[in-house]
């Protein structure tokens, strides 16, 4: 047993499962999927208290869940998952986050590390030139309100129809890159304004474009199905819905504040404000959230197109010739209506994933046909100095975590701490020595995202696999990074 405080204790369940027994007004237990060491590292943060707070949400099912990359967030912990009953439960913008459908996509290629090594400087420069990054950088795409409305309902399909990418890309996106139920009429003018020039931009913070190579394959069969092989060069895109998603979240936090009073909901934290999912407020937020999710899918689709263009320019071959197919695109800040087994029966639930990745197991109908026998690819970016992972979803994830796994390494230092403790010159030298070339919109932005600012992704992934939420397919190492 781990005593966090008199009011908060964790009891060991099966390996890497820690139960926070229901107490007081908690409606369900909490479950933290982690090792004892990961939990020890949470000391002094509010992350575990946030797991407890989430357990107060009306209609929450099974448990308030935390993935192994758990760290303190706003309202929900990052790495938090909560499924609520679709008919009687609530929807909470705090359980989805400000950057709605922040997510990652991974493109494979037929290039090997040795093909690319000598071109890395040029490739990174070309990527940096082509991809607008950092605060205030707008893209080349300026949209009218009516055209932006199409993006909000069509998502990645809009981008493909405009020539940004290939039709086959859509099949390999969660939700085929377009979430149903989006309604632009429930999006504020302010959000439209903030979204009008943000499409096709990377943004700042932890968003990145990364060139990596496959260092190790753990599961030959899955790797073959996913199109991965050792020394292969792959390309990551990590971004979300930019200012548009932030505005949607901000707008609806106010709606939810009023809804909490209207529906007599009592919560321990204002950032958990919510409304019954089937209320007018709940339905309107869901439709605006889906619109923001579609904006993010269109954004990643456009950025992936720029990455293909940069690679084609650098290597003098088309993206098709370079075999730059989309392996997969996953959301890790989102609310989804899904069907899951609860208390022995299948039911529709609303799954909040706040810094958590969908990890559906084999034979699930929502996994693309190509991967269905293996399970869904689960993309876990680490940090720019160490590694990232491609995992596969499991049957156990369906049972334990509503088909969810971790979403990254998780921060170890806040941005402020990172800036105090890390020197930018030393960081650049260290990265170059370890074979990673970095370009960043700002020097400070680079330091905030230094490897030391993150937990070791190996530890997080081991805990995820130990808990049964996913299985390792391949580990990749960074070669070049563009930071926002």
């Amino acid at each position: 047993m781990i005593f966090v405080s008199k009011e908060l204790k964790l009891v060991p369940g099966q390996k890497c499962h820690w139960i926070m027994p229901k107490k007081g007004d908690m409606k369900v237990d909490g479950i933290v999927f982690a090792t004892e060491e990961i939990i020890a590292d949470l000391e002094g943060t509010k992350a575990l208290w946030q797991v407890k707070n989430v357990a107060h949400l009306p209609g929450i099912l099974k448990a308030s869940l935390a993935m192994p990359d758990i760290h303190e967030g706003y309202g929900f912990p990052i790495g938090g998952v909560a499924a609520t009953d679709l008919e009687t439960g609530v929807i909470s913008p705090g359980g989805i986050g400000y950057d709605i459908n922040c997510g990652v996509r991974l493109m494979i290629s037929n290039l090997t590390k040795s093909d690319v090594d000598k071109h890395m400087d040029s490739l990174v420069e070309t990527l940096f030139r082509k991809i607008p990054s950092g605060l205030g950088k707008t893209g080349a795409i300026k949209l009218s309100k009516s055209e932006l409305s199409k993006v909000l309902t069509q998502g990645a399909t809009w981008a493909v129809n405009k020539g940004y990418g290939w039709l086959e890309d859509l099949e390999h996106c969660e939700e085929q890159g377009c979430m149903a139920g989006a309604s632009p009429k429930n999006v504020s003018d302010k959000a439209f304004s903030r979204g009008s020039a943000g499409l096709g931009t990377l943004g700042s913070g932890n968003h990145f474009i990364e060139v990596s190579y496959v260092e190790q394959v753990f599961d030959e069969e899955a790797a073959e199905v996913y199109g991965l092989f050792e020394n292969q060069v792959v390309f990551w895109v990590h971004t979300g819905s930019r200012g548009f998603g932030h505005q949607v979240c901000t707008d609806y936090l106010q709606v939810m504040r009023r809804a909490v009073s209207k529906y007599g909901i009592t919560l321990p934290d204002r950032q958990l404000d919510c409304a019954p999912t089937m209320s007018d407020e709940g339905k309107e937020y869901f439709s605006a959230m889906a619109a923001a999710a579609n904006y993010a899918w269109a954004n990643r689709q456009i950025l992936a197109h720029y990455v293909r263009e940069a690679a084609a320019e650098t290597f003098g071959k088309s993206a098709q010739e370079l075999g730059m197919h989309l392996l997969y695109d996953v959301a890790h800040n989102i609310g989804k209506i899904e069907e899951h087994q609860v208390n022995g029966r299948k039911q529709k639930v609303l799954v909040h994933r706040k810094g958590a990745t969908r990890a559906f197991g084999p034979n699930h109908p929502e996994v693309p046909v190509k991967y269905r026998e293996i399970g869904q690819p689960v993309l876990i970016p680490g940090d720019m100095g160490r590694a990232s992972y491609i995992l596969k979803g499991t049957e156990d994830a369906m049972r334990f975590s509503f088909g969810s796994a971790c979403h990254g390494a998780g921060r170890a230092l806040s941005r402020t701490q990172a800036k105090k403790e890390i020197s930018v010159d030393e960081l650049r030298d260290d990265l170059r020595r370890s074979g990673v070339i970095v370009r960043s919109a700002t020097v400070k932005g680079l330091v905030e995202e230094a490897p030391e600012a993150y937990k070791d992704v190996d530890v997080v992934v081991e805990a995820t696999c130990c808990a049964g939420l996913a299985e390792k397919v391949a580990r990749v190492r960074p070669m070049g990074v563009i930071k926002g």
Partner: protein, 129 residues
């Protein structure tokens, strides 16, 4: 969590709001001098002072993202309660991003309700950066 907490003190609610705004812009530009080239008005509502402050700060973030406007000074600020809602009207001065030799050092994405505290002499806001 991508976090920065700012605490502001003031002689009244209006002063606290103005101080918090100044703190946010100081954070973004690390204290670089922002010239007074233009003026514009900000008007927001909130059901309580907490929501009003968050809206006031997020409105400024929105102006930066959409119009490229950077606040140098809160020229005037007035908070009133009417029909159960708090209303804020403010005149601010500053410049356009293109008038500056410097770029923002930190991208403040949102003022949040996380551990938010607002009273007539003090406020504490966590910013998502």
């Amino acid at each position: 969590m991508a976090d920065v907490v700012i605490q502001a003190h003031g002689e009244c609610l209006e002063d606290v709001f103005a101080q918090m705004s100044e703190g946010m812009w100081f954070l973004m530009f690390e204290g670089a001098k922002i010239p007074n080239v233009c003026k514009w008005a900000i008007e927001v509502q909130g059901m309580d002072p907490e929501e009003l402050l968050v809206n006031f700060l997020n409105e400024q973030i929105g102006f930066l993202e959409v119009e490229g406007l950077v606040v140098s000074q809160i020229e005037q600020i007035e908070i009133k309660k009417a029909n159960g809602e708090f209303c804020l009207k403010s005149d601010v001065s500053g410049c356009h991003l293109s008038d500056l030799d410097v770029s923002p050092v930190i991208h403040v994405k949102a003022a949040t309700f996380h551990e938010l505290e607002v009273n007539p002499n003090y406020a504490r806001v966590t910013f998502d950066v």
